[in-house]
Symmetry: D2
Subunit: 242 residues, 4 copies
């Protein structure tokens, strides 16, 4: 079986500067996410970070990526427009994209959604209970009815995104908010999954259910090998128009 | 790898009575469809027909089925209500269902859709050109932009079904009609795919692209192993309500 | 302006037997709902109840109804199959249908949805906070970001319905649950809105925001006067097939 | 009744240079479209064109617009980024947007969709038959099952847009193509309708059904007065988190 080639991208700045984040993710969030996927022998995993040349996302790197996982937060503006455009083209061409947590405000997510992607937030150790609302969805494989996360940053509605093509999860927060926390989109030949949890000061990416969701999403978002689409001036298919 | 257990169900009446149909499908449409799937070593295939006891769809048979393929036409009314209810329960519990062509008017499709499932039709050797409108969908894997079927029965809009959760194909017909010919639905924990072509007097089920679509749909509709859902009276999850 | 002809249907049984319900809705839930709509001069309102002949839903009554509002709970099984079929036909023909609270288990809702419509529930005075997740939807007109209901019965996911065509509201409950509480469906030429709140022992239907939602839903669900659809054998539209 | 304030925007270049277009639309496509709306006394209509200051779309102009209709073709690149951003903000804030025909390649449509919006095309006098596939949709009000356009430019699938939230029309073309020709989107608090017909060399905007669709779409896309959404840091709604 051909492996799914996964690139885990992380802005990797908090972990270099903030001791509280270092304590949780000493090698970076990307390494934690990649480790969480290693049990899957059908995945081939690499990582890339903002401060690498071309942010680690050269044309060659993207051409060798089936699914790109994206974590960013404080440095969205430092991702070059050229790389954003390149990732967008790759997604529309069929590459899967999994956007995590604060990646909601990344330029790549915003240009693909066409909306502000804004939301409510609060850092206050809320309990997050993620309810599965689409139990037959492949991204819900192997889960229980809920994912329980003891402490997390809160994200609340309204989440200004297009209504998801498939809504898999809805979160409950202690402080009284709800959030559409697992959102599937098809764009061009590619598929996009937004998954809410994962603030940098919490050990969320070590949570087995969170790891399972990301792995499920990788499989769901992998390219399918659909038709080569042709655009532009087209001759008629029917003789009467020839 | 655990195989996907496929049951190909056919009403199998035209083929017993009508020489024109016998000439095309001497062993029955179900055998032709099953043969078209045999190249896939990850499928385990059986067939079932209307005139078998319990229509070949006993509790045991359904419990051993991951994806059920359904072809029926002139004998929809002979499928017992009990079996329809049993199939419906199985679908809502996670079994995949692929409804082909005239199966649009089967009771199992109608009870799952909640609408009349009515449409326009004409037997007049129209050319059917099936356009892929969702090139990133797994059911479009391995196809070209169109599937060309030289002669087929026409089905035309309005097709009275719920708007599909995912619309994969739209058909063009010589006589001036269009049809939403590849429609995906999620119902309960199960997934349903309606695929239009396949009139009994045409060799449609020998068409390699049609066979490919059915195989793709089997994989797409196979159960995912999602959460066991609990209904009814529920204790609070939060201590403050205990 | 032609008024929208609204029929408010109520099973009207709790209010006859249970003093706790009588205390809240002395004239019946239908009268409370109808009163909440009376400020809208463009509505023409009547009520109907289970124990009337044909449940107050004769052919003539339905023919004179643009939008039907449905509240039922303990007597779903007493609604005759004939009336359920009649209401279903009316909806598919263009009549709007608003299903409230425990009406999720009515036969009319179940046959239109095609699923079990099951859910979790608890009578424990939870606070319900209904979040608007689609702020541009007509059913959200005139609301704030949330509707706050001090005490209500809890309904929790998984709610076994088809993914709504438009999801307008998501509820948060004290006990830790969430619920897709405002769900829009298009079926045939008709539109259906499910709205969660309204347990018989709480004064929910006197809540101004709940009344506003119901009024908004009436306008949204009113028939649009679309094309008359023709089904069955169809002549070709193009001369080459004549 | 407060009128719906409509701005009809046209690039207005073909009509100044090309005699074939002048012959059809001597005063410009915008004037033809505006004239087609004048029968509706509840609309207040103005026009705006590319070569006006700020393309006729100043902040004040947009603030006084409920629904913006957009026709552009050869000069998409001349619409300033500032105005595109301004229109996008207005749409997300609740203004309706109706994009016509070659407007599929306008920057405003592309940034709202997030995809290439590319398609197939041919100028060859195809007959276009637009089928209603959602007969209960307000945009289909007053139509027959089809809209027949004798001669039009062909647009064919694949149309690289997100799957529409509501698909109202599908077109059939003589040359063998189909097209999703009436596509509804909700983005932010605004609503967007893409409608396919309207090549500059054909008298399409004088067609009564085309005029009716545009008028229906204006009503459908008008702002609803939903909740004011608040983003950013949020205090808890529940005391336990205070």
């Amino acid at each position: 079986m051909t492996p799914v080639r996964v690139t885990v991208w992380n802005e990797f700045r908090h972990e270099k500067k903030d001791p509280a984040v270092q304590a949780v993710y000493p090698d970076g969030i990307h390494v934690a996410i990649a480790s969480g996927l290693k049990a899957h022998s059908d995945f081939s995993i690499r990582t890339a970070t903002l401060d690498e040349p071309e942010h680690g996302l050269s044309k060659e790197a993207l051409a060798a990526t089936d699914v790109l996982i994206w974590w960013g937060h404080q440095a969205h503006a430092e991702v070059s427009d050229e790389v954003v455009a390149r990732v967008k083209d790759a997604v529309l061409g069929g590459m899967g994209l999994i956007v995590l947590h604060s990646g909601h405000f990344s330029n790549i997510f915003k240009v693909l959604m066409g909306t502000t992607c804004n939301l409510k937030w609060r850092e206050a150790n809320d309990h997050e209970r993620i309810w599965v609302v689409e139990p037959g969805h492949p991204i819900a494989a192997g889960l229980n009815e809920t994912i329980e996360i003891d402490r997390e940053e809160m994200y609340g509605e309204h989440f200004d995104v297009p209504a998801p093509d498939e809504l898999v999860f809805v979160s409950w927060f202690t402080g009284g908010e709800v959030f559409r926390s697992g959102c599937c989109y098809r764009r061009g030949a590619g598929r996009i999954f937004y998954f809410r949890p994962g603030h940098e000061t919490y050990p969320t990416y070590y949570h087995p259910d969170v790891q399972r969701v990301i792995a499920n999403a990788v499989r769901w978002a992998a390219p399918v090998g659909g038709p080569k689409v042709v655009f532009g001036n087209a001759k008629p298919r029917e003789a009467s128009k020839a």
